[in-house]
Amino acid sequence: MKIMVAIKRVVDYAVKIRVKSDRTGVETNNVKMSMNPFCEIALEEALRIKESGLASEVVAVSMGPAQCVDTLRTGLAMGADRGVHVEAAGQLYPLTVAKILKSLVEVEKPGLIILGKQAIDDDCNQTGQMVAGLLSWPQGTFASKVVLDKEKQLAMVEREVDGGLETLELDLPAVITTDLRLNQPRYATLPNIMKAKSKPIKKYTPQELNVDVKSDLEVIQVTEPPKRKAGVILSSVEELIDKLKNEARVI
């Protein structure tokens, strides 16, 4: 079985972002970019499945500008066998990404797709569900545990839901999206980074995959959230209780 993992290049999670003064978006020039943390977890899970002998190949795919190749190289250095880059300029929304993934499924014929549960830039939490819908495959979202049964072609997925954990059994092929608790992604070692340079990355355009990138969403503006007014530092527990009672009136 082949596993396809979708990875996204985003502003590094530790960067304090800046909204552009013309309100068209967030500054990404000269800002550190990295692989989306949830995508790292997705890739790690795929690699572990392969290492346990349940998958034969892990294909990492990414959509976006030319620099996505750097993100794919990171994925190859972690252990992915091959990369696929669908080069597209401008903003891609989850519906478009899901359609591209669906087209790639027709080419690559994976038995499982693993994605992160959300990208930390747009915070959409949609792509995995949408590609599952387009393919009519079952979905196991927000996974904190995945157990595959190769004989029966099943995946047991433990999911993080409001109020606890839920376990589902999915027929393969399926789509899984990863929550933070699924695993601890590995670091790429220097020899593997060197090896990754010679691994193949196949290129496509959305047109070659018959996907129209036009979108039914339009960003009107991006603004900074309202600032909270400065607070005060108190000196004692008594003072705190007094403020909560008589000033803020919340207790």
């Binding site: 304090k16 972002i17 909204v19 967030v26 989850p94 519906l95 959300q118 930390i120 830039d121 915070d123 949609q126 792509t127 569900q129 949408m130 590609v131 599952a132 819908g133 387009l134 009519s136 079952p138 979905q139 196991g140 979202t141 927000f142 904190s144 047991m156 999911r159 993080e160 839901v161 409001d162 109020g163 606890g164 954990l165 839920e166 376990t167 589902l168 999915l170 933070l180 608790r181 039914d216 969403l217 339009e218 009107i220 503006q221 991006v222 603004t223 900074e224 959230p225 909270r228 607070g231 005060v232 530092i233 004692s236 705190l240 209780i241 909560l244 009672k245 803020a248 919340v250 207790i251």
Partner: protein
């Protein structure tokens, strides 16, 4: 534009919390989706969809019909196929109903149910959904947070009907007045399920649900939240947070560090990847205030931070800060806080 027809999708209450299962009532988060729908439609034409089966489901249907004055119709899909909150049959159901009824908007609360189902249904309908809306500024213009709440994005939906949204419950609270006036009773109509396309239903099966202790108020809708961070150091020490929460009638929250260390279950995590809360009072003990944590609590009305590091970023958002050792402060608070009413 003619009158809007709006449907709010509801996580059938039964599956989401034991208490609701026993009461057969509708989750308060779901009613926030009706509040959001109300701002799209002045003529009380909000339909609510409920799916499920069994005796407590019938209770929930009755409750739904009188749960909000803006609900004019309750659509009921009574079938074992919806006995569990699984995405595949639910998305098919929404798709089928939309093809018949042509709603202008389909809305759900941004809980784990809505986030699981709505994008799948949107893909079946070939439209882009909009996640976690915090403000509705027109029938097709919405504000949503991006980058962990560090920027707000105004988007316009330019596609065909339906416009599909998940809304952040804390941004659309149900006003007390509408809770009191209730409804004169919406009409209840059964959804004809004979045409339900079974293509992808049955490829996933529900196995079990492990619920966490639900003694305390629900984190998402609590009036007061007491959160502990890395500064608590151990699961044993974290019990002080629980004790304080108990005294205040508050819900308990946690940071990622605390969840990762195994002090508390992960559904107590507050932040970009956990729960988003906006209580009247948020008290953070031993929480540094990482970007990802602030994303989940920055809209709280009053924020109190107790930390021994005066430079901790949490103090930049706190209304009241106390620089000190939480192992001294919490016991003192336990002793001096007035008893809850």
């Amino acid at each position: 534009m003619g009158s809007l027809k709006t449907t709010s999708l509801f996580p059938q209450a039964i599956h989401f919390s034991i208490r609701e299962h026993e009461n057969g009532s509708i989750k308060s988060q779901s009613l926030s989706a009706v509040e959001a729908a109300k701002s799209l439609s002045d003529d009380n034409s909000v339909s609510m969809l409920l799916a499920g089966s069994g005796p407590s489901f019938n209770e929930a249907v009755k409750h739904a019909a009188s749960s909000h004055p803006s609900i004019s119709q309750v659509l009921v899909a009574d079938s074992d196929k919806f006995a569990y909150p699984i995405a595949e049959p639910w998305a098919k159901l929404v798709h089928m109903i939309q093809q018949r009824e042509k709603y202008s908007h389909i809305i759900s609360a941004s809980g784990s149910f809505g986030k699981n189902v709505l994008p799948r249904a949107a893909a079946l309908l070939d439209v882009s959904p909009i996640t976690d809306v915090i403000e509705i500024s027109g029938s097709s213009q919405f504000v949503r947070p991006i980058y962990a709440g560090n920027a707000l994005c105004t988007v316009r939906y330019t596609g065909a009907n339906p416009c599909m949204l998940t809304v952040r419950a804390t941004s659309f609270p149900m006003p007390k007045s509408s809770a009191e006036s209730r409804s004169n009773g919406a009409s209840i109509s059964q959804v004809d399920l004979s045409a339900l396309d079974e293509d992808s239903i049955g490829k996933s099966r529900y196995v079990k649900h492990t619920s966490q202790d639900a003694e305390r108020p629900d984190l998402g809708s609590a009036r007061i939240v007491v959160t502990g961070g890395r500064g608590l150091k151990s699961a044993e020490n974290f019990k002080m947070i629980e004790k304080l929460a108990e005294k205040l009638g508050a819900a308990v929250g946690a940071t990622r560090a605390v969840v990762d260390a195994g002090f508390v279950p992960n559904d107590l995590q507050v932040g970009q990847t956990g729960k988003i809360v906006a209580p009247e009072l948020y008290m953070a003990f031993g929480v540094s205030g990482a970007i990802q944590h602030l994303a989940g609590m920055r809209d709280s009305k009053v924020i109190v931070a107790v930390n021994k590091d005066a430079d901790a970023p949490i103090f930049q958002v706190a209304d009241y800060g106390l620089v000190g050792d939480l192992f001294e402060v919490i016991p003192e608070l336990l002793e001096k806080f007035p008893e809850k009413k």
